[in-house]
Assembly symmetry: C2
Homo-oligomer: 121 residues x 2
DNA sequence: GAGACAAGTCTATTACGATAGACCCCATTT
DNA sequence: AAATGGGGTCTATCGTAATAGACTTGTCTC
């Protein structure tokens, strides 16, 4: 954990969202989508592909781009990073902020409880 | 919600942690602490005070600095921002990532359940 | 064999958050 | 009256993430 692979900057994150939603995807096609959704020029997309490829976040083989890290892994890293940065690693404070920030429905509450049960078995 | 007041950059956040932990605090004293804990020069601290003051994050009156936004408000904003940025606002995905990222003890699980009960009444 | 287009690199430039140096005013001390 | 220290501003500079322009190579087609 704490790997450089998982720490994504904002632009990198937006880009990876597209990759995760379309992989495996042809690089030229990816340029097209990034231009539509992010307004990026071709070279910007290729620069991003190269940087993330160097860091092992994705691979570009025979013009086909694939993620090497899972969305879920990055999400877990982001939770941990936030927990440390803004909550001094206090789990109760984190949960409290979550509960206050969200207006949860009965249904959501039921689901969350169930997930906790599952996780703690 | 979504206010500019709540979005803090990294350096701003570290700085506000110090303010929250010491307020109300004399500005010269604050410079001293920022130098010790962050290695900042005096002008860096005052620049930070001015910027955050302009945005309504804190106030500096008669050389006494006080936060105008609560730590809890910022924490809630951060949760929401992360939820949107990395989880496409999916609460189940967020909870799942949290449960996977943390190895919770029996005690913590009990506490979390209790907090959910409280919040949903 | 001249265009056209896919696939990509290499080297800037831009934007902006982070940080600080030089300077100012005023009160107190020596 | 000069030195010291508190309280502060104003205007850079620095670092680096974000973005792109110009160029290259190869293949296919007309």
């Amino acid at each position: 954990m704490g790997e450089e692979k998982y720490k994504l900057f904002d632009a990198e994150h937006k880009f990876m969202d597209i990759v995760w939603n379309h992989e495996p995807i042809n690089s030229t096609e990816l340029c097209k989508i990034c231009n539509e959704k992010l307004g990026w020029k071709k070279s910007t997309t290729y620069t991003m592909i190269r940087k993330l490829s160097d860091r092992g976040v994705l691979e570009n083989k025979d013009a086909t781009v694939r993620a090497l890290v899972k969305r879920e892994e990055v999400q877990q890293y982001e939770i941990e990073a936030l927990l440390e940065k803004a909550f001094d690693n206090s789990i109760p404070a984190f949960v409290a902020a979550f509960l206050d920030a969200q207006t949860l429905t009965e249904e959501e509450i039921r689901e969350i409880k169930k997930m906790i049960e599952e996780a703690s078995k």
